[in-house]
Subunit: 356 residues, 2 copies
């Protein structure tokens, strides 16, 4: 039994425009610290497994940037999806590749673009998950103890303890992103955890789950598996992929399966879903400002400023997000950063590709 870490790095992160672009998506940006989110994700996982057993699922736009950022990972471990089809197909593709390398392998799935504050705790929790995957043939999720009534995360409801002396519980239900009242109830009840989007399971367990709950996808994955290492690989992958429907692993499998467990984790976790989250997770000056770069404030509070190679002066303005790059400058209010999509959609419509 060996452990393979699969990093999901297919997203673009439109909400981080103008820093995020097709070729330099969110996970290649250093928005959560001094290094890129992908680099920090890989470094976290290298505590648990060897570089040779870390796989990255991505798309052709990002391939070059990822290879440059993570040179220590073997070329064959960068898996290129022909097209984004949500998480279930991407995880299935990784699963058959892991299975071809070690039919007794355990695999973990990790978003490339989340922030986790405590490396030691992370290692401990993942290893607890690996035991559950191996000993109990479970589909293991990781649920973060919530600290506020967040409406931006999905939740996992847990019930009885599944393992003595370890924070492992049976899962009762999954909940989509709640409204604020529901989120408050979730927080108060104590039975709900934030769904971190990380999973651990034995390859046999997940493949059996595909067979049971997504049989058409399973058929395709079996065909793809048969082509691994053969000249037909690319054509089989492309043909099969075109037939797949987009579906998330949560909706397609986790919400339906019976053998689902959750490791209840207690660390500083953030999905870094927006510039608002970046403001939230960083240390602030005495006026609540977060600065990346050379910024001066005169009577300006609670702003987030990111700029390079220039001085930025904010005078008498509050609650702004200011993101400056060589070819684009964005100014938006904190709390309204969802509207960045309007800008990006507009640029797409006008075919201003150099800015996308």
């Amino acid at each position: 039994m060996s452990f393979f870490a699969v990093i999901m790095a297919g997203g673009v992160g439109k909400r981080f425009w103008p820093r995020s672009r097709r070729a330099t998506p969110k996970q290649l940006l250093n928005i959560a610290g001094d290094e890129s989110m992908l680099r920090m994700t890989v470094d976290r996982l290298k505590q648990i497994t060897a570089s040779e057993q870390i796989l990255i699922v991505t798309n052709s736009d990002q391939e070059e940037g990822i290879r440059r950022e993570i040179p220590e990972i073997p070329e064959a471990n960068i898996i290129i999806e022909p097209e984004g089809k949500n998480t279930a197909p991407a995880i299935g593709l990784a699963a058959v590749i892991v299975q071809s390398r070690d039919p007794d392998g355990v695999m973990g799935v990790f978003p490339a673009d989340h922030h986790i504050g405590d490396l030691t705790a992370f290692k401990t929790y993942i290893e607890q998950g690996i035991s559950v995957a191996r000993d109990m043939m479970g589909l293991v999720t990781f649920g973060v103890i919530p600290t506020r009534p967040a409406t931006g995360y999905g939740y996992i409801q847990y019930h009885e303890r599944a393992k003595d002396d370890e924070p492992v519980f049976a899962v009762k239900a999954f909940a989509e992103k709640p409204d604020y009242q529901t989120a408050r109830m979730f927080l108060k009840s104590g039975d709900f955890l934030w769904n971190s989007g990380m999973f651990v399971w034995h390859v046999d367990t997940i493949m059996k789950s595909f067979q049971d709950h997504l049989p058409e996808l399973w058929d395709s994955l079996e065909n793809i598996k048969g082509a691994i290492g053969k000249p037909v690989w690319n054509s089989v992958l492309t043909v099969e992929w075109a037939t797949l429907r987009s579906i998330s692993i949560d909706y397609g499998i986790m919400e339906k399966a019976q053998n689902v467990y959750v490791v209840k984790v207690d660390f500083n976790w953030n999905d870094v879903g927006s510039w608002d989250a970046v403001h939230e997770m960083h240390d602030k000056d005495e006026n609540g400002n977060v600065s990346q770069g050379d910024v001066i404030y005169h009577g300006a509070n609670n702003n987030l400023v990111s700029a390079q190679g220039k001085i930025v002066a904010l005078v008498g303005v509050n609650d702004l997000v200011v993101i400056d790059t060589d070819d684009a400058l964005l100014i938006i209010h904190r709390g309204e950063t969802e509207r960045i999509k309007e800008v990006v959609d507009g640029l797409e419509k006008e075919k201003r590709d150099s800015l996308l």
Copy 2:
């Protein structure tokens, strides 16, 4: 009798940072139109006199930029003040140089950095002023009919008409920048005009005024005049200049002299004193935004954006002034642009000379 136009171009315009810098001050910026304010000032004056009779008073920091911007003016017509001493010494220096070229000359004084909308009317009014200067040996000011209770301008109170068929009046008093209540009263009374900072007089008249009202300055100016065209010019100018006190022409002469007239002018005039004035004087889109460069707005109103070589996106923000340059970005609220001085003063204190 010939007419000399003297352009006062010594100011830096800190309030236009980060576009204005020591070497590229306000008057060298194209903030009021497609060309620099100095270029527009010179072109206005070339309607009235020859390039050879246009003089520019400035300082050594700006000399090179001005020569490049206005190459048609003879080198000897760029007059370098050893040090800024306010308007009375600068005008006196220009007066003795004009006198040395034509003892019967009439000179006009024009700020380099004001906006005047109507070129034809400008020419007419200045020519009316020249007649008054020549025929009545008056100190001629130009007073703009106010259109609102502006608190940022000085005012001229006029009384009886001094010339038939022309809008020339005797001046009763000068008023400093008023408070809002006073400005409303000025507007209502109809007796007050905005002091445009432009003047016309015969060189004999202004030199006699210096002798009467600022005799120490007059002594120095006579010494300086004696050195014109001689090898001692630079040393005499430097030595005399060091002894001068800073004083404005308004305070030192105009408020004390008896033979002061005002030409009542009716044109679109703006001293372009701040980014707020730039917003005010430009055409706006349907949401009140003024853009210099490639700017997109989503639910953003009444902003002024100036940027080059990049796209700027403003989302859901109102009443901002956003000025982007290669090495500095300023974001400030409209109506608070006086506070730009705080930024510049801070940079001076930190000796960040490249940004000044």
